[in-house]
Amino acid sequence: MSRYFLKSLFQSFFTLSLLVILTFFLLRLAPGGPFDGDKVWPPEIQANINAKYGLDKPLVTQFGVWVNAIFHGDLNESFHYIGTPVTEIIHEASSASFILGMSALLLSTFFGILLGVLAAWKRGSFLDLSAMFIAISGMTLPAYLVATFLILLFSNLLGWLPPALWEDKKSMILPVITLALRPLAIVARMTRTSLLEVLHSDYIRTAHAKGLKERTIFFKHALKNALIPIVTLLGPIAASLITGSYVVETIFQIPGLGQYFITSVLDRDYPLVMGMTLTYGAVLILCNLLVDLTYGFIDPRIRIGEVRK
């Protein structure tokens, strides 16, 4: 078990390194620089700026310097928010994103499983159809359409909830719903499919033959096994929810991480882009490790070394 963990940790570290290298060089290949503005600097000033941020050295050296800094817990200073360390920016923005993402994760897991279970329990009924219609809508509606619709309905028309900002509990409701809808839909569909598959397996037939109650079979025997693929799914979903969503954060004016994924690239804020990539990669790896651990709790038969991705 510990050998498996060491191996998968090593593999994750390898993938993360490749990700970081690829991002670094792709970013530098992109046209434009961090200090391009409307003003054209005199060449001496440009050279001075480049020297201050180490941009005059060869790319490989710059990469080496950056890697060296990471091991000292330093992600350098942002180019765009001048003088602010990247670690500080990420630290400040992560709290809003974390609360938002976690709430959305809990909401979507709970209601997604509930919806999927109901649909599988009453397969082919009106309930099943409407649950799956909600699920498909959730998967196909772009987040900005959902957000707009919710704001128009609950803020403009009914006046129940604030349309934006990140202040009290009330202001969290709409962004959380918007963010949760898509994962909710994915979880609901997966739950239904997985449950229906399990319900056709031999051991369920045996349980029927033994004369167990329908409800006991469904909730005690089938549901537990059906949850395994859903747990697998939750790893990447959790990672993407926690690291923030650009659309939701922009529309609802939330000071979170998601916006930096986009703005930092557009600003060519190299240190911030690299910091964001590193954060996302680390969170994803952590979530996947948690998923691996959870398997053992749901189904003790899964010896962790045998899990195949």
Binding site: F14, T15, L16, L18, L19, L22, T23, L26, L27, L29, A30, P31, G32, I136, S137, M139, T140, L141, P142, Y144, L145, T148, L152, N156, P183, I186, R189, M190, T193, S194, E197, P229, T232, L233, P236, I237, S240, T243, Y246, V247, F261, I262, V265, L266, V273, M276, T277, Y280, G281, L284, I285
Partner: protein, 277 residues
């Protein structure tokens, strides 16, 4: 064929999609105005005859713009899905069939793309490749081919020890021939299903890129671009967002229902389309 026609979801969703494709192809002949004809009507007017979907800020006919937008949105969806199908199938098939060193190398490349934050990659690529059709197309294609590669690899792994493969080898076919003439064609069912789910996802991604201002450049306008233009004035002129949004939504819905029914018909045991994010 009977199997297809009996499935109501298939009939309804494929008719809608065929209709939309026809409208897109025939746009120059159907559209009452050109997509970039300025001032053909009053500015920002809500739907009224002859502007059945109203007009935008420059007095352009929204209905015509949506018809032309269908061309771009659908083209982006189809082309990117085809791109990821070809690249993903090739990579996945080689990795799954040959195994060993090839598998390790190819799959670590796939893994990197898999954990790459999709939007970051798409943005970096659009910056690198420009914001023309080719740039957008490659940016979306490069972010989606990995799930195709993983799927095909898993399927090829299952198939490679089946008797028909052995029979092909025994008849003197090379590995390459067996793989691409016998195994891959046998996987058409699941591949078509995954393609059907990929297309709407790619259309959605393009609309997202438009939302952050990295989509196709004006005067071209996909549904995503149109919806985002409408988004800015949603309170005063809701029609500008509602109609493109509706077109987008109906298309996505149709593709998803089509994917569901195709899966039930072609590939009843798999769960593709339920586990992509």
């Amino acid at each position: 064929m009977k199997l297809f026609l009996r499935d109501k979801r298939f009939v309804v969703s494929s008719s809608i999609l065929i209709l939309f494709c026809l409208l897109a192809i025939l746009a120059p002949w159907i559209a009452p105005y050109s997509y970039d004809a300025v001032g053909v009507g009053p500015n920002l007017s809500p739907p009224h005859f002859p502007f059945i979907m109203g007009t935008d800020v420059l007095g352009r006919d929204l209905f015509s713009r949506i018809l032309y937008g269908a061309r771009l949105s659908l083209a982006v969806g189809f082309c990117t899905a085809l791109f990821s199908l070809v690249l993903g199938t090739f990579t996945g098939a080689i990795a799954g069939y040959y195994g060993g060193k090839w598998d390790r190398i190819l799959m670590s490349i796939v893994d990197v793309f898999y954990i790459f934050p999709m939007l970051l990659l798409a943005i970096l690529l659009t910056l690198l490749l420009g914001r023309g059709f080719i740039g957008i197309f490659l940016a979306i294609g490069m972010t989606t081919w990995v799930s195709q590669a993983r799927l095909v690899r898993a399927l090829v792994l299952q198939a490679r020890d089946l008797p028909y493969v052995e029979a092909g080898r025994a008849m003197g076919l090379s590995h390459f021939q067996v793989l691409f003439k016998h195994i891959v064609p046998n996987l058409t069912g699941p591949m078509i299903v995954s393609l059907t789910f990929q297309i709407p996802n790619n259309i959605l991604t393009e609309s997202f890129l438009s939302f952050i201002g990295l989509g196709l450049q004006p005067p071209y306008s996909s549904w995503g671009t149109l919806a985002n233009e409408g988004f800015r004035g949603i309170q005063s002129y809701p029609h500008l967002m509602i109609f493109p949004g509706l077109a987008l939504f109906i298309t996505m819905l149709a593709f998803n229902f089509l994917g569901d029914s195709l899966r039930d018909i072609l590939d009843p045991k798999s769960s593709i389309g339920t586990n992509h994010n």
